[in-house]
């Protein structure tokens, strides 16, 4: 177990390091030093300011040294300085994280519950009316682009039904600490949009996985022992059917924590996704790089957690 842990953590660190090299090459080396300094400084910087930034960022030194300085800062949790807004990237990112976390966690609860429940019902009653309904709607939501669904929901719930559903604000974000009621209201539509799009994969995966497991010998054994159907499905079958779902869930949550870009932009939620789109529009390079690195950390850590959880649950994983 210890050996597995060490190997897996070393692997995660390697991937993170490679990602940092990729981000560095993409942003620092691609455009060339003066251009980088200019982008860092923002559009209105003077030549003296650019020279100063060039020196501060060690852009006048050889590439490996530049990378070394940048990585050293990263390791200390310092994502850099945002010259455009005159504050550290850490604080820009820090302000954005709560919004993204609120959006992703709320939506994750919804899509996991809905996806797994509809998947189970579909698998237990295949080819019934309910199954057809769930699988067809899953295929629909799997195909519909997030921004099309989001705009449709805004149109339907916020505009067309506004006399009935007056409580639907749909653009903006309020911190939960400032006003929990407003926080909830602002997030209803974004949660619904993100959850519906995501849930489709979960319905499909749960159904496939459950159908496979329900054919296993041990499920037949459990039934033949006279176990109630409810117990067979919810305890024996679901447990092993959940494995691929947990993997997907870990990956999805990790990826979305780096910014649910389209949903955030659509509903004006000032999270990481909104911030990076905004940063790209104003060429605010430090923020773009900071969020890209942070997103990689979220994904790699989420993967690591999923793998380690498996290793605890299933001894076969440790050996492979």
């Amino acid at each position: 177990m210890i050996r597995f842990l060490i190997r897996r953590i070393a692997q995660a660190i390697l991937v993170l390091w490679l990602s940092s090299v990729a981000v560095f090459l993409l942003f620092f080396v691609g455009p060339g030093p003066t251009q980088v300094a200019r982008t860092f400084a923002g559009r209105l910087a003077t030549a003296a300011r650019i020279a100063q930034i060039k020196h501060e960022l060690h852009l006048d030194e050889p590439l490996p040294v530049q990378y070394g300085h940048w990585l050293w800062n990263l390791l200390q949790g310092n994502l850099g300085y945002d010259y455009y807004n005159g504050q550290s990237v850490d604080s820009v990112v820090g302000q954005a994280i709560p919004a993204t976390v609120s959006l992703v966690i709320g939506a994750a609860i919804l899509w996991l519950l809905y996806g797994v429940i509809t998947g189970i019902v579909s698998a237990v009653r295949p080819r019934t009316f309910l199954d057809r309904g769930f699988t067809t709607s899953a295929l629909f939501f799997y195909s519909v682009p997030t921004f099309v669904l989001g705009l449709s929901l805004i149109w339907l719930l916020a505009y067309k039904l506004s006399p009935v559903t007056q409580f639907f604000p749909f653009h903006g974000y309020e911190a939960i600490t400032a006003n929990p009621g407003k926080w909830f209201e602002f997030l209803i539509l974004p949660w619904l949009t993100l959850a519906l799009v995501q849930a489709a994969s979960y319905t499909r995966l749960t159904r496939t996985s459950m159908l496979e497991v329900l054919n296993e010998d041990y499920v037949r054994t459990a039934r033949s022992k006279g176990m109630s159907e409810r117990r067979v499905i919810l305890v024996h079958a679901l447990r092993s059917a959940l494995t691929p779902i947990v993997t997907l869930f870990g990956l999805d949550v990790g990826t979305l924590l780096g910014g649910a870009i389209i949903t955030e932009k659509l509903f004006g939620i000032t999270g990481l996704g909104w911030t990076i789109v905004n940063a790209i529009n104003i060429q605010d390079l430090p923020v773009i790089m900071g969020i890209a690195v942070l997103a990689a950390v979220f994904v790699v850590v989420a993967n690591l957690i999923v793998d380690i959880t498996y290793a605890f649950l299933d001894p076969r994983v440790r050996l492979s």
């Binding site: 692997q11 390697l14 991937v15 993170l16 490679l18 990602s19 990729a22 981000v23 993409l26 942003f27 691609g30 455009p31 698998a123 295949p126 080819r127 699988t135 899953a138 295929l139 629909f140 799997y142 195909s143 519909v144 682009p145 997030t146 921004f147 099309v148 705009l151 449709s152 805004i154 149109w155 505009y159 499909r204 159904r207 496939t208 159908l211 496979e212 990826t255 979305l256 780096g258 910014g259 870009i261 389209i262 932009k265 659509l266 996704g273 990076i276 789109v277 790209i280 529009n281 060429q283 773009i288 969020i291 890209a292 997103a295 990689a296 994904v299 790699v300």
Partner: protein
């Protein structure tokens, strides 16, 4: 169709579940002609019985035709894709006009014909979808062959490369690259294609690992064939069909990726007609009563991705009927 053997089954009802192909004991003796059929013929037979798949394939054919003939339709109506109709295409306030006999689907915020632009948008979506998929499949084949056949250190290197590409969310890399190097058609094709090679690479790697233990590979090696020859001449032809089928499942993903980039303003640059960009522009107008502006490009995008996904699902099920796909 000529490649498929004569239809000996006749009775459609038995094939509703499309799980079985031949049940000889139920056939009258005279009709019992048993032929060997390859898995591909079986799959094609199953697909031919699948009504949903046929509707999806028909829809895709119509979309392709409409995209091909967009210039013809534009010429017939006398409306160019980027032509602005300041007098007839905009109301007194310079805003879009609704569907009418001149502009069948109405106009957009610049007084351009929405029908023609939606048709031209299909060209961009389809071409980007197919080209990006070709790039990702080509890369996937290369990396998958090397990882699967050579294994060891090569496999580990490629696995880490895949990890790195997957570690930074697609849209973040894509919008960053698109912004750094100025958005454009080829950049979008390249970015969407390169960043989605991980899925075909995984499929190819798996296939290669199962094929490379076969006798003919051993025979080739015994004859002195080098690894490159074995990978590309001996193994690749055996897996290429599977690769093409699974690769085609990437087309709708590529179409949505392109539309998302254009929606975020870093995809296909204006004035080229593009669905994502049209929807993005429409999102500032539809709430004031210009519903057609949002509706038609959205519908076009939705129908296209839906048709490709339905067909993809059916093809997958036809190839692997025991796999519990959606349409059993």
């Amino acid at each position: 169709m000529s490649m498929t053997p004569p239809d000996i089954e006749g009775d459609d009802a038995r094939f509703a579940g499309n799980l079985t192909t031949i049940e000889p004991e139920k056939q009258p003796a005279a009709a019992r002609i048993i032929r060997g059929r390859s898995p591909w013929q079986l799959a094609f037979e199953r697909l031919r019985k699948d009504r949903t798949a046929k509707i999806a394939a028909g829809t895709i054919a119509v979309i392709i035709l409409l995209a091909l003939f967009a210039p013809v339709i534009a010429a017939a109506l006398g409306h160019g894709p980027n032509q602005q109709f300041v007098d007839t295409g905009e109301n007194a306030f310079g805003d879009p006009v609704g569907p009418n006999p001149t502009f069948w689907l109405g106009t957009d915020s610049s007084g351009r014909d929405l029908l023609i632009r939606t048709l031209y948008g299909a060209r961009v979506s389809l071409v980007v979808g197919v080209l990006a998929t070709l790039i990702s499949v080509a890369m996937g084949v290369l990396f998958g062959l090397v990882a699967g056949y050579l294994g060891g250190i090569w496999d580990a290197i490629i696995a880490r490369l895949v990890d790195v590409v997957l570690s930074i969310p697609f849209l973040i890399i894509a919008i960053s690259i698109a912004y750094i190097s100025h958005p454009g058609f080829w950049l979008v094709v390249f970015v969407v294609g390169v960043l989605s090679f991980t899925y075909p690479a995984r499929i190819v790697r798996g296939q290669v690992i199962s094929v490379k233990e076969k006798e003919f590979v051993e025979a080739a090696r015994a004859l002195g064939a080098g690894p490159i020859r074995i990978m590309f001449i001996d193994i690749l032809p055996n897996i290429i069909a599977t690769v093409i089928v699974y690769g085609s499942l990437l087309i709708p993903l590529a179409i949505v990726s392109e539309a998302s980039l254009s929606f975020l303003g870093v995809g296909i640059p204006p004035p080229t007609a593009d669905w994502g960009q049209m929807i993005s522009d429409a999102s500032n107008y539809y709430q004031y009563g210009y519903w057609w502006y949002l509706l038609f490009p959205s519908l076009a995008l939705l129908i296209t991705t839906l048709a490709f996904n339905i067909l993809g699902d059916s093809v997958r099920d036809a190839l692997d009927p025991r796999g519990a796909g959606i349409y059993e």
